[in-house]
Amino acid sequence: MGLELTASNIVKRFGERELFSIEQLQVQEGESLHLSGDNGVGKTTLMKILAGLDKPCAGRINVTPNMKGRWSTSLHPKVIYLHQTPYVFSGSVKDNIAYGLKLKGISRGQIKRTVQSALEWARLEEFADHAAHSLSGGEKQRLALARAWVLTPGLLFLDEPTANLDKQSVDSVTELVRKMVDGGAAVMISSHQTNPLTEVCQRSLLLADGKVSESQFPKEMLFDA
């Protein structure tokens, strides 16, 4: 696999207010990063920009290898961003997990098997045919993770993925991230909490005053309950 993302001179403004201005940010294959920072510093905005869902006011983001298909989809097919509060499509839990797979033109049998194992991982088997809208907050979060996981992303942005998860779920997400990173994928996680997941992260980025700084965990910024 092996994706490499380079962002240079990224600036984001909302009206007058400059949210951040980042000179250089690199994410390499097999890396896991923890992005921290106070509410409203722009973690979500930054991750969306890196994932190609939002446009910076200035600067360039480069993902190599560039895997643009014949249909210029403009988004990199191996880069996935997960919302802070995930959006679930109408339809069943199963449909949601199969969404990305169906777009890839994978065989029905293969999709079925993949969806089944994703349901198991997310412990949502019993809800497989329920309307995804009726899931609880944490269940939706797990669904969104499973929905991204089945697509074997090379670069995964997780926006506060564990905020609403119970202990067991956090552990399985941690396990998942560890495996993905071992497999050569890169994962960036934003979180206000320190927990098993953030602890597996190799690099720790702090977004503050519009700048990103690489740092040891500034523990005092986080809970150490």
């Binding site: 249909w71 509060t85 959006y87």
Partner: protein
């Protein structure tokens, strides 16, 4: 002749249950033309609505206002304009389309279009931005993402299509003008009603209206049972 409302209603019902061949002819023209027209108009109009909801370009609000204003153009004016285009002495006269069903279809497409655009624009506006982002990040190209959003907005879109269908199946001005109300060919329910009314045969007019209402009810009941008895989600 009948004078009062009760007698008229009775007569309407009588007429209704003695459906004769001529009536079926008229019903056939009505639904064939309007269903074809709505099928042709829906997809392009929805795409325009989507474009107007999602893409922020200069002058967007003017385009939206224009489509809103076009809803206020009387059907007969649309009919007149098409008439002048399709008339023998008009620029498209050589197509010999005037007073044919294809001409009626063209007219009804033109009538349904602005309403469909406005209503689907408003349907897409109320869809969460994250739906689009989620579809895109999960690998949908723009085309597939649009179909996903259409699925998310399907109830509002269905309501839009039903409103559009209601507009064209019931309109008389344009069909009369470019269809010509020719018996067994371009006479549909609304033009037949107009004819009966002009004759002073009010009961027959109302009866035809009831026929249309009943058929529309059947259509809607079918759709409602497909979409899950009106429930959201």
């Amino acid at each position: 002749m009948q004078d009062n409302l009760l007698e008229t209603s009775m007569l309407s019902l009588q007429l209704l249950f003695s459906l004769d061949a001529e009536l079926w002819d008229i019903i056939g023209v009505s639904f064939r033309v309007s269903i074809t027209a709505i099928l042709i108009a829906t997809l392009p109009a929805i795409l325009v609505g989507f474009f107007l909801a999602m893409v922020d370009f200069k002058g967007r609000w003017m385009v939206i206002a224009l489509f809103n204003a076009l809803m206020a153009v009387p059907t007969v004016v649309v009919g007149l304009t098409l008439y002048l285009l399709l008339s023998r002495s008009g620029p498209l006269g050589d197509l010999h389309l005037l007073f044919t069903q294809p001409a009626m279809i063209i007219g009804q497409v033109a009538l349904a279009f602005p309403l469909l655009v406005c209503m689907s624009h408003s349907a897409f506006q109320s869809i969460d931005k994250r739906a689009w982002e989620t579809a895109r990040t999960l690998g949908a190209n723009c085309f597939f993402a649009v179909t996903t959003i259409m699925k998310e907005a399907r109830f509002a879109l269905l309501a839009a299509v039903l409103a559009g269908f209601g507009r064209i199946i019931s309109e008389v001005g344009c069909s009369m003008m470019i269809g010509g109300n020719i018996m067994s060919y371009t006479r549909n329910i609304p033009t037949a009603i107009a004819l009966e009314t002009s004759k002073g045969m009010f009961a027959q007019g109302i009866a035809l209206g009831l026929v249309l209402l009943i058929l529309a009810l059947l259509l809607n009941f079918t759709l409602a049972s497909i979409r899950g008895k009106g429930r959201l989600v």
